[in-house]
């Protein structure tokens, strides 16, 4: 993952949830960050738009924190052949 990618991801999440970007760290669990299931589907939708990817339900279901989410999104972006 590049720093540029991570920043873009965190900014996308922050914009989706209407919070300052500093709120979000890759090592925090969704629970710690107050992200519930409804926030989760909003974030997935925003990330799909931002990076031009499709995030499968099965992959999304197993993700427990922002770090895992970033890894998953990074893989999809790389697979698309146009790294951010």
């Amino acid at each position: 993952m590049t720093e540029e990618f991570t920043q873009k991801l965190l900014q996308c999440i922050a914009a989706t949830l209407h919070k300052p970007v500093e709120t979000y760290r890759l090592d925090a669990s969704f629970e710690e960050l107050g992200i519930d299931s409804l926030d989760g589907i909003n974030i997935l939708f925003a990330l799909e738009n931002e990076f031009g990817i499709q995030i499968p339900d099965d992959a999304a279901r197993n993700v427990k924190n922002l770090g895992e989410m970033a890894q998953g999104v990074w893989k999809l972006v790389e697979a698309k052949g146009a790294p951010a």
Binding site: D36, S37, L38, I41, L44, F45, Q54, P56, D57, D58, A60, R61
Partner: protein, 404 residues
């Protein structure tokens, strides 16, 4: 005043009449299958419980069919069947002493989708003049009122997945209080339009394979559609006219979670169940079967089981609890009506419909879920649960006709 169920009608992906629906339910023949290819090609999930080969002209003349979205057509067909089944004619039900209460979640989505495609997609700059009458969620109730001359209270209730539960409960209270002499209650939904399906896809709650309520392997709900209606009237009136009595409609309980727009809670559903028991004047130990909301999502099934344990305590171990959504899918605004018919038939026939597609027990759903095969068992009383997004709950209580 006690209230009886004297007529049932159902139009479902597993059978086009209440009798066919019931036979399929107890034989475990579900209606879940591939969604029609033109829709499935644009979706991330392949399966649904969709009405196949629907031909409105088999039920309506061409001019009438033009006026009705599929959901209203389904409502009309199920309503007619329930009235005929109750042995009632237009002469019997016309006038102000009959009510019609129908549930619908989303209204005429099929019509809306087609017409908005004209506008946004084809850029025609206009939509069909019948778009509004087809979209409005009271269209089915209105059609039945016109066809049968019913001029009493007629309206639709829209509370997402609890719509028809609320409609049927309201109908019970209306008949019981003497406001009307009978009511036609139920619900209808036509769920298979692209825009609506895409909206469900975005919620990420639809299963990639099938609906496995209470199984450890469950991955979400399967969307369904159809309609079901019942005729309800005072027990004494039903007896006086020699009507067949399927069950006593003994109570209804409603509540709101006041919690979260999509996450289920334990307290709200538990309160609706205890309200239904109180309304029916029954103790928890007198319930033998629950037709669960049982959507097959991770969150719903575990939470519903906790709510059942909270209300029934030690008796929960003796209860049979099945989710027929494993066969007819989640028919949204029609779900409560389909499941009420299943519950009423279970009491009437002495057979409990199964939870199909069941695999491994989930410790979070520790109940007797009647796995994979119907069970011959006569219970005295049963509940039918409906819990909606938005935290709105409706629970119906029925008693066996043997208890009358």
């Amino acid at each position: 005043m006690r209230v009886a169920v004297t007529g049932v009608g159902a139009l479902t992906p597993m059978g086009a009449t209440a009798a066919e629906f019931w036979r399929a339910l107890i034989e475990g023949r579900g209606g879940i299958g591939p969604i029609q290819p033109c829709l499935a090609a644009q979706l991330r999930f392949p399966h649904g419980a969709q009405l196949r080969d629907w031909d409105p002209l088999a039920h309506f003349d061409a001019r009438t069919a033009d006026l009705l979205d599929p959901f209203a057509q389904y409502a009309a067909v199920a309503g007619r069947e329930a009235l005929r089944d109750a042995g009632l004619t237009a002469e019997d039900v016309k006038g102000t002493r009959t009510a019609i209460l129908t549930g619908c979640c989303a209204g005429g989505q099929v019509s809306e989708d087609i017409q908005f495609q004209e506008l946004y997609g084809k850029q025609t700059g206009r939509v069909h003049p019948m778009t509004i009458p087809r979209i409005m969620s009271n269209a089915g109730a209105s059609f039945l009122s016109m066809e049968w001359g019913v001029s009493g209270p007629v309206y639709s209730i829209s509370t997402a997945c609890a719509s028809s539960g609320h409609a049927m409960g309201q109908g019970l209270w209306m008949v019981r209080s003497g406001i009307v002499d009978r009511a036609i209650v139920g619900g209808a939904e036509a769920s298979f339009s692209l825009g609506f399906l895409k909206a469900w896809e975005a919620m990420r709650v639809v299963s990639p394979d099938t609906c496995r309520p209470f199984s450890k392997e469950r991955k979400g709900l399967i969307l369904g559609e159809g309609a079901a209606m019942m005729v309800i009237e005072p027990l004494e009136a039903a007896r006086a006219r020699g009507a067949r009595i399927y069950a006593e409609f003994a109570g209804a309980g409603m509540s709101a979670d006041a919690h979260h727009i999509t996450q289920p809670s334990v307290g709200g559903p538990a309160l609706a169940m205890s309200n239904a028991l109180a309304d029916a004047n029954l103790r928890p130990e007198e319930i033998g079967y629950i037709n669960a909301h049982g959507t097959g999502t991770l969150a719903n099934d575990a939470t519903e089981c906790r709510a059942i344990h909270a209300i029934f305590g030690a008796h929960a171990a003796k209860l049979a609890v099945s989710s027929t959504k494993s066969m007819h899918g989640h028919a949204l605004g029609a779900a409560g009506a389909l499941e009420a018919v299943a519950t009423v038939m279970a009491l009437s026939e002495g057979v409990l419909p199964p939870t199909m597609n069941y695999m491994t027990p989930d410790p979070e759903c520790e109940l007797d879920v009647v796995p994979n095969a119907a069970r011959a068992q006569q219970v005295g009383a049963a509940l039918s649960n409906s819990f909606a997004f938005g935290g709105l709950n409706a629970v119906l209580c029925f008693k066996s006709p043997a208890s009358l």
